[in-house]
Amino acid sequence: MDPRRRRWRLIRKVSNGVAAACVAAAVLVLCTFGFDGIPALGRALDPGHGAWAAAANAQLPQPEVLRATGLTGPTLVSFDSDGIATVQAGRLADAMVALGYTHARFRLTQMDLQRRVAEGRLSQLVGSSGLASDEFELRLGLLRTARREWAVMPKNSLAARLLTAYSRGVNDYLATLRAGGQWPTEFSLAGVYPAPWTPVDSLAVQGYLAQQLDYTTSPLDYAVLAGSLGIGRTMRWFPVQTAGPQHPFDEGPYRVRTAAASGQRTGGPAGQRTGKAAGQRTGGGAGHGSLSSGLGSQPPAAVVRSAAAALALTSGIRVGHAAFLPVGTAWAVNGRKVRGGAGSMLAGTAALPGLSSEWFQAAITAPGYDVTGVSLPGLPGIVIGHSKRIAWTLTSAQSQSALYYVEKTSHSRPGDYFWRGQWRQLRRLHYTIPVRGGSSKQFTVELTAHGPLLTKPGVASPAISVQWTGTGGSPDVAALANIGAAANFTQFHAALATWRSPAATFVYADRSGNIGAMTAGSFPVVSHGSPWLPMPGSGADDVAGTIPYAALPLSYNPPGHVVAAAGQRGAGAAYPYYLGTSANDLDANDAAGAIYAALDRRSGIRQEGAVALQTSPVSEMAARVIPRLLSALRHANLTSAERHAASALRHWNHQLSPGSAAAAIWAAFWPDYLSATFGPWWHVADVPVAADPVGLSISQAQAGMARDLEMWTLADRSNPVFAPAGAHARTARSVMRAAFATAVAQLTTLFPGGPSGWRLDLLSATPVASSAQIPVLGYGSRAAAASPWLSGGQAGAAPGAGGSAGGGGLAGASGPGWRMIVRLSPGRAGIVAEGIYPGGQSDNPASAWHDNLTARWQHNGYLPLPAAGAAVTGAMRWEFLP
């Protein structure tokens, strides 16, 4: 052979070999390690393992015997056909081991995601898109708080034992996953797997849930609004006290409690209050300072800039908008209000952000603790439910749990801040945030005596710090365990004495026919200043204490036989303590008023009646406003569709039924009316809505604005708000006509078939988030009945309605989750309870228990709760052995 040909052949052979080796290496590297966000494809897509292993995890439980660490005796867990779990154990701690295992088995993704968000490790799973959340949470300090709580918790205390037992159960399941490789899909694709669970993780998850319900940025919003609208208009439209009729469950009389008297009770259990009375003061004392009773001062432009910068930290992530989340409703009746006149009835809805199915339904039977209801994966215990003697539920309470301080710093003293007459050094904490697909980020948090700095000091904008009540920790685990063991209201009230966060209103009922409503939580009291605005951080406006527990709003066996909570202010105008402003009022639609009106009219309420009240409520606000609207339309030149709509409203019973066209018209009209009224002011003042689209936009969830507008519509139709400067003269009537026309046009566009096809449920389709809180794994939009029971009024907002100045808040993003009705009887009838939530017990989309409850929930169905103290039955069961 020609030597040249031989040489070329050799070159071709070697080149081919090198190329083949390179390609093989690249393929193997990609399959083993992944690259730049692409998961390790070989591991991830291996049919028997990787992401496919979730298929095995989706199978329903089979009878099996399992070994669990930390058990002292056999423990049983059974499941009914809907996946509702019943745990039976010889000790409460053993029950928590089983509960931890069960939670992890069905909700591991949810638990790990919430843990990561709370502890600032979301980026480790999702990449750089999680950095904003991680930085915020590390700044706020949920992890610091959890670690500190665990460090000081006596390890032989009830809470510590339950947290430890729960962690053991979770870790037992994680060990099973590690051995079998059957991780949920999300972890297999990411190549990032959950770390072992610790009590600190449970406490961090607790803090995260409290933050979702209770963290507010309202003082920052006030500052930004004042910067545009002026402090006068801001406080008129977002007043401290919400305008219009109020429906507190505690109507007084109120007492200012001294520190020494804070533990004393008057009258019956927990300071029984009867009837209405003007607020009475028995003198001042610690805990009630001289709050500024004025509007507060116009914030300087520099503070406004800092406030906007601080808002920007959270505008992209879902925090700081507790006031705009539906908080559910709760009511209880007794006496003649209950059929038969004996016992009581309690009903409640409880929402978590995003209409989520974060709840996990379970019943736990252990000595001294026989409770059934819903739990929150990540935490040991039942949060809402009933025992053999009492029932309870909770809603978020009006509270301003976050105070903001403008810190004094100096360029000549970097790293220092001025407080109480001295320059002091900022405390610095350094964190490393691992980022999947990228390099870790170094992050530093600076803290003052008040709390973490949200903004850095600059030439044109001072630094702002936040003091949030949630960073003080809260013994919720112990409180819930003690609630489950309570036999009466005195014990129930005592169990919540140390509850700090989230501020919540608990509604109570027992088999003896007693009912009650009470607020629990930490409400800061400042000795000076306007806490609804950012305050100077020099020390004069610091927190001087908290509202004494005995002085918090409370109602026990009211003469009207009704207590109701819907996020409204729990006490009347004469209440001597600061609870928050209308921006923290969670009842923009006067749901509490609607509940009281409906229940006051009825007696002998049966279970079926309670279902109707809970699923097809009446809008009292609509009942008040619609006549004014119809009056305004009387001589107007209406189109055919508008005439049809007006006719529908005229014959409407104000019931928010899913198929109601009139309800759909109202749901479209009200946000448009708000926008038409306030929009021109927002436009002229150039309110920077983009700084906080939820908190600064015109929204039906803004209780202050909504209730103001109702009041002006009813009693002050020539209010200057209807005639912005420079605009042509308007009155409430003309604005209402314009808003009505806009609403009808929107509905006509959305439903081209005409008014006959308008339905409230189609208008308020609500995306249901999956329990794993992964957006792509949501259940899709589910038509949900709009409801004034939903404080905030998100459901029912027409798409695109709600404001020309930035949108309608979280319209369509949230709704009532868990629904429960409990009938408590003193005799052999005992307790009969039913409940439902959207979604299913499993967060694995391939599981038959992932979405099995949604259809029933959507159609207003309920499932019976397992009886408290019931033994484990059924074929689907696990037996845990030590």
Binding site: A20, A24, V27, G42, A54
Partner: protein, 173 residues
């Protein structure tokens, strides 16, 4: 190489009978033999061994890939492809046979593994949809299944190429 000739033969050039001197030149070309019948190249029986044996080997390959998947040996398609590339040298199979064989073994193996999961009652279809969703793809099970089989196929083909490159077939003269 020329023949050695005598002087007398050289003197007879140009004379009668000199045609017998054709032998003075180089050897005359041989007459070509009878033409061979035409045969299709991919059917040319150049491979070694019994065809049935090769088929059985391919089935074994499928089984090995499937078993590897079920035992977390996700790299088995690569090894099978590598082995196939090496076996080519002895077997004499061309790419037109080998590439499809590797594809059948790798995709068939992982497909068989998925089938076994489904036979066990596991929700393979729903899981495939979930994987697609989480991966940011349209919620279609066929996408995930196709991607899974594609990963297996790519591994196999990479192994095949490397195997061929390591032990190439000798070139024909």
């Amino acid at each position: 190489m020329t023949k050695v000739v005598s002087k007398s033969e050289a003197d007879r050039l140009g004379k009668r009978g000199s045609y017998r001197l054709g032998g003075l030149g180089p050897s005359a070309p041989e007459r070509p033999g009878p033409p061979r019948p035409y045969e299709m190249t991919f059917l040319r029986p150049l491979h070694q061994g019994w065809v049935g044996g090769w088929v059985l080997a391919a089935l074994a390959g499928i089984a090995l890939v499937a078993a590897g998947a079920l035992f977390a040996l996700w790299f088995m398609p690569f090894l099978i492809g590598l082995a196939t590339g090496v076996a080519m040298r002895w077997g004499g199979w061309g790419l037109r046979v080998t590439v499809p064989a590797v594809l059948v073994m790798t995709c068939g193996g992982w497909g068989l593994a998925l089938g076994i999961l489904a036979a066990r009652g596991q929700a393979v279809g729903s899981t495939a949809q979930t994987i697609a969703l989480v991966a940011g793809l349209p919620e279609m099970a066929v996408l995930t299944i196709g991607l899974t089989l594609g990963v297996s196929a790519v591994q196999g083909l990479a192994g095949l190429w490397l195997g061929r490159a390591l032990v190439p077939r000798p070139a024909r003269d």
